[in-house]
Symmetry: C2
Subunit: 350 residues, 2 copies
C-alpha cells in the first residue's frame, strides 16, 4: 500500500521541519509554512493515516508528530535529493586536504575534521584496512650490539618497524642473511595469511647458525605484523552533540560518549560495514539504537579501502551529509591515487 503524492509531500514537510527544529510538528505549522493547498484539518487526517502506517509517532496526545525510523528510511531511499556543496565548503575541503597531501594519516585526520566541522556532528575516519596488503620485503638493521630494528614493508608502501633487543649478539652477515631469507619466504603473501600460519616456520633450517637469531626475531616479527594490520581511528567533534537538544539529558550524552570508549570494538563494527555510502538509521544499528550512522569508503591506489563516517541523531540532514561524504571520499581517493611521475610523497607511520 503506497503513499499518495500528498502523503509523501506531508511526510517530507514533517521531516524537513523536524530535522530543522527538533520539535514535534503540528498540522497547523505545516499548513502555514508549506503551501500544500489544504487546511490543517486535512493534514491532520493524513497524519493520522501516516501514523497508522508507522511513519510517524506521537510523543503524547496533544503533541505534534515526529518522524519514525521508517520515515527516515523512506526519505533516504526515495525522497532525498542530492545537495550541491556550497562553493565555500568545496574550497574548504580542497584547501585543507591539499595542505596535508603529503602525509597520509594527517590527510585522513583532516577529512574527519572537515566532516565534523561542516556537519556539526561527530565524525571519524579509519586508515585503510591492510588485510589484503602483501609483504614486499623485510629488513633487519643493526643499532647496537644487542639491538636491531625489524622493518616490514608492504607492496602499497605501508611500513612498520620494531626495535628488538636480542639475547645473543649477532653479526652483520647473519642479519643480512636472515633479512633475505625472510623476504624470500614471505614476499607476496598477505599479512593476514602470514599471521594466521602463526606457526613459526623454519625460515632457514639449512643454515643452522641462524637459529638463535631467528628465534629472537620471530616474536617481534609476528607482533609487528599484527601491528601493521591494525587500522587507526580518528574521531572528531565528539562534543558537538552537546549542542543538540536530543543529548541534553546527561544519560543520553553518556551513552553516546561510551560508544567511543571502546575504540577497538567500534572500529570492528565500522569495518564490517559494506562499501560505498551506507546509511543506517536508528534501530537498524545494533550499536546505538537512537543514532544514525553514515559511512563511506575511499580508496588508496585503487586497492586498499578506508572508511570515513558520521554519527548523529536520527534527525539528521541525510541529503547534505551523504553528498558531502561522497565529495570527500572522491577527493580522498583522488589524492591517494599513486599515479606515477607525480611528485607525491606519502606517510606511513601509524
Amino acid at each position: 500500500m503506497d503513499l499518495s503524492e500528498r502523503q509523501l509531500q506531508i511526510l517530507q514537510a514533517i521531516i524537513n521541519d523536524y530535522v530543522e527544529n527538533a520539535e514535534p510538528v503540528g498540522s497547523r505549522s505545516i499548513a502555514k509554512k508549506y503551501d500544500l493547498g489544504v487546511s490543517p484539518a486535512t493534514i491532520r487526517n493524513e497524519m493520522s493515516d501516516l501514523e497508522e502506517m508507522g511513519y510517524l509517532t506521537h510523543p503524547h496526545t496533544s503533541a505534534g508528530r515526529v518522524p519514525s525510523d521508517k520515515a527516515y528510511r523512506l526519505y533516504v531511499n526515495n525522497l532525498m535529493k542530492k545537495k550541491n556543496l556550497s562553493a565555500r565548503d568545496k574550497r574548504l575541503i580542497n584547501e585543507r586536504l591539499a595542505a596535508s597531501r603529503d602525509e597520509f594519516d594527517a590527510t585522513i585526520r583532516h577529512a574527519a575534521e572537515l566532516l565534523s566541522e561542516i556537519t556539526h556532528l561527530t565524525s571519524f575516519a579509519l586508515t585503510p584496512a591492510t588485510n589484503e596488503e602483501t609483504i614486499s620485503f623485510i629488513r633487519l638493521l643493526p643499532v647496537d650490539e644487542r639491538t636491531i630494528i625489524l622493518m616490514i614493508v608492504g607492496e602499497s608502501g605501508n611500513v612498520t618497524n620494531t626495535t628488538l633487543r636480542l639475547k645473543v649478539p649477532y653479526t652483520q652477515e647473519r642479519l643480512d642473511l636472515l633479512s633475505k631469507n625472510m623476504t624470500v619466504t614471505y614476499k607476496g603473501r598477505t599479512l593476514d595469511d602470514v599471521l594466521k600460519s602463526h606457526i613459526i616456520e623454519d625460515v632457514g633450517t639449512d643454515i643452522a647458525a641462524l637459529n638463535a637469531l631467528e628465534a629472537g626475531v620471530m616474536p617481534g616479527f609476528l607482533r609487528t605484523l599484527e601491528d601493521m594490520l591494525n587500522v587507526n581511528l580518528y574521531m572528531e567533534g565528539m562534543t558537538n552533540i552537546f549542542n543538540l537538544p536530543e543529548y541534553s539529558s546527561i544519560d543520553r550524552a553518556r551513552d553516546f560518549m561510551q560508544l567511543f570508549a571502546q575504540k577497538d570494538w567500534f572500529t570492528q563494527k565500522i569495518l564490517q560495514r559494506a562499501d560505498g555510502v551506507v546509511v543506517t538509521i536508528g534501530d537498524e544499528n545494533t550499536m546505538m539504537k537512537d543514532c544514525s550512522l553514515i559511512t563511506a569508503t575511499y580508496h588508496v591506489d585503487g586497492k586498499l579501502v578506508g572508511k570515513i563516517g558520521v554519527i548523529g541523531p536520527t534527525r539528521m540532514k541525510y541529503g547534505e551529509v551523504t553528498s558531502l561524504m561522497e565529495y570527500l571520499t572522491n577527493n580522498l581517493s583522488e589524492s591517494f591515487r599513486l599515479t606515477d611521475g607525480e611528485d607525491k610523497t606519502e606517510r606511513n607511520d601509524k
Copy 2:
C-alpha cells in the same frame, strides 16, 4: 596566623566527609561521626572562623560547609598522608604492565587504563618527549623505481620512517652515499637542534650528482623529524566523570569533554608542567578552574621523560591518587630501564 590543632582536625574531617559524599557537611554530622569531644555549636564557631580565613565556603545560608581550593591545598601540603596501595591494586598493576612489557606504547596506554580504572577518574599518559633525543643514524631504503623509505633512528631506540616518492630515479649507490652523508652530518645532534637549523644544509655539495636526490629527500626528512618530536597522548576513562555528581549538569560535562577536544593544546599544557608528582587544584589551573590535575613523570632508560596524569573534580582522594601515581611511575621507569643483558624488546611505532 596558623590554624589551631582543633581547627585542622575539623578541616580534615570536613574534607574527608565532603570527598566521600559530595555534599555540604554540617556541624552536627561532624560532631557525630568524628569523635572530637566538642559539641556541634563549638564546631560551628570554628567553621565560621575557617570560613573567614578562606578555607570553607557556604553554598547558601542554611547549607553545610564545602572545602575551598585553599583547603585542599593545605590538605595536600600538610595534612595528607601517603596511602599504601591495596595488595589487589599492586597485583593488578604489576600483571597488566608486565603483560605488555614488550610494547612500549601499549605499556604506556595500559598505565593510563590502570590509572582510570583504579581511581574512577579520567586519566592520560604521554609518550616521552624526544627533544633531547639525538640522532643515531639515517637510512634510505629502496622500494621501487620512484619510491624510497627514509628512516631516522635515535640513540634511545626511537625509530620513525616515511615513504617518499621521488621525481627523479635513483641508484642504490647514490642512496647509500646520501644515507652515509646524512648520518655523518646529523649523528649526535638532537632532533630539536636539527629541525631548528631548518636551513637545508649542503649535505654533500662535493658530490654534485647527489643534489637532485637530496633535494627530493630533504622535505621528507624534516617532516619526519617533526613527526618524531611529537608525543602521543592516550586518554582513558573520559566517561567516568558522568558518574560524579559534580558533572550531572550537561554544561559542566561539556566543558570537561571539550578540554580534550584539542589534544595538541592539552598535550602542550601537560608538557609544560614540572617533573615529579605535581598537584594543581582548581583555580591554580589555567586550563580548567574547577578541576584538579595531578601529573607524574616516568623515565625511559633514565633519560627521556614521559608523563601520566589524572583529572577530576577538586573533590578528589589526593592521598590515594598520588600514592598510586608514584607506584605506577616507579613501575614504569623500572620497566623502561634498558639494562643490558636483559631479553627486552621495545616498540617504537608512534
